[in-house]
Symmetry: C2
Subunit: 337 residues, 2 copies
């Protein structure tokens, strides 16, 4: 009998991972916070809004909204938003299984403190505990494609080799390939900051500036992500990998990305309030931009593109002016770190 896995968060990725694990015959408890979504999933076996109706939960997937049911399970996959991490793990800290393994799919920087999720967890638990129990899943993964069984490649980062290998084995299928990495910080930073660059890349597309400009923006954005990550202790080569370049390409060029779409609409001239009013889901790139600008100042890291995104989002700077300012900076050597 295979060990049971609890998936926390019945959004697109949580549901897709439940479909994947269920497809391997693994018993899954999918926990959602939204009663209505949970009821729909339980009765109709497909997600009401975030995936398509032909994607059906396999029989080994149970759906619940009751935390009592997952709290004792020693395998947790956290698929809730980044900004909910402190509250969530703060609340359930003492009740988790003592041998629990937790896989985070969220990436971001906490809005109030500017801390990475790894740093937030180290404030809640001891550092040793975090390193013993947590791992992060990242890489170029649109949930819809993953759920459809289209070929997808990802990376699991964890401090302990045993933990990384465990999740790698558990998740891999013939169409879902999982690499491992020990650079947890690098994978987290890459996953969080790509949302900001995707916003900017969307704006370049919305402005009609062309494919050269988009490729350059993504590349120079990657240089900023790398510098910022290295300043926090990440390894530079992580950013050339799946969690870095891979996810950045997907999010910045793929039509399915929310952050890109928000940037695109801004580039087309829609006011920010208008765009946000009609965007139902969390746009992680916006809080991340704010946190990262503050953190980069402390770390003395140069992040000109992210800085201009902040000017546009929070200080009403005209978007064409921001692009012009980026293009006409002093000429220099291409040095990344």
């Amino acid at each position: 009998m295979k060990e049971r896995v609890a998936v926390l968060g019945a959004g697109a990725l949580g549901t897709a991972l439940s479909v994947l694990l269920g497809g391997k015959g693994i018993p899954v408890l999918l926990w959602g916070r939204n009663e209505e979504t949970v009821r729909w999933l339980r009765e109709k076996r497909y997600h009401p809004t975030r995936l398509t109706p032909e994607i059906i939960l396999p029989p080994s997937v149970e759906v619940t909204s009751n935390p009592e049911e997952w709290i004792s399970i020693p395998l947790l996959i956290y698929c809730l938003p980044a900004q909910a991490v402190r509250e969530f793990f703060g609340r359930y800290r003492k009740d988790l299984h003592p041998e629990v393994k937790i896989l985070l799919t969220a990436k971001g920087f906490e809005l109030e403190t500017g801390l990475s999720l790894d740093e937030v967890l180290r404030e809640i638990y001891s550092s040793d505990w975090v390193e013993e129990h947590f791992a992060v899943l990242s890489g170029p993964m649109f949930a819809l494609e993953l759920a459809r069984g289209l070929p997808t490649v990802s990376v699991v980062a964890g401090y302990k080799e045993g933990i990384r290998r465990f999740w790698q084995e558990l998740l891999a299928t013939p169409t879902f390939r999982v690499y491992t990495s020990d650079d947890v910080i690098g994978v987290e930073v890459a996953g969080a900051l790509k949302n900001v660059i995707a916003l900017a890349a969307g704006a370049v597309d919305g402005l009609g500036l062309g494919l050269n400009a988009r490729a350059a923006l993504i590349t120079r954005g990657l240089a900023e992500i790398t510098r910022f990550g290295v300043a926090l202790g990440a390894r530079p080569m992580t950013f050339i990998g799946l969690a870095g370049v891979g996810d950045l390409i997907l999010t910045s060029t793929g039509d399915l990305s929310r952050n890109r779409m928000v940037g695109f609409r801004l580039g087309r001239g829609e006011p920010l309030e208008e765009v946000l009013k009609t965007t139902r889901e969390v746009v992680e790139g916006i809080p991340t931009t704010k946190s990262v600008i503050r953190r980069a100042e402390e770390l003395k890291v140069e992040i000109p593109i992210i800085h201009e995104v902040g000017e546009v989002l929070f200080h009403g700077k005209e978007i064409r002016k921001a692009v012009y300012d980026l293009m006409t900076r002093t000429l220099k050597a291409e040095i990344i770190v």
Copy 2:
């Protein structure tokens, strides 16, 4: 009076660079090998096939097909194919201006020898001479967008700082941003091998495998390019820059790319001969694949994606089988170099 520049090769990029330099008031001699194209360009002032008719050569651009006219000019921009480098510089070696500065835009590996263009030049000239006189221009540049004045960012790699700075200053405009790099080998390898990965990325799109698969293919392709480059003496961080990631993103996701289009049609099931019969221009990715596979064997570098491209192109392997073989390799850690 500004110094005159000779642009060698009246294809898309040669013409676009002539438009750019002419727009800065620099006198340009654009040299083409095709009499008909040269006549058209001279009379109508736009390119007959490779750019759009609204892109007009500025008055300071002269067009010729006579080598006598450019041979004494000390500033040369080489925009002919990679496979023509040996023959071209072999022929004109002794006649070049003794203080000549040469900027190469071609990238590739010589089909017969498997050598990089840098290595080919070192066989023709002395190594010192190559380092004193040559530089390479690369980065995400579709010629059509460059000629239209859409924002474009590039990199000039050269062994000598004076040479790099010279071309940087000469080429830069408010919409064309030029960085410098001293990693000539890295920039060359990245520029050449991206064509092979673009072929594979096109095939993934043609097969309808989705955006996750495309992003993963590009990223794992970048890891192969990096490994191969490092084995030849390049610096790993070059591959995260404009000539690496930047150009790879552009060529692998942009609709304007020839190599991508050939891969796309193969992915859709068209036979290779059919595709090549209807592709007018040089598809650099095909000879590059052959040379690189041979060279990688000598260097003992693992290049599974490029290897599968070779299997499909030269040994009739079924394209779905190639993708399946890539996805089901042994699981491992994500190590790039």
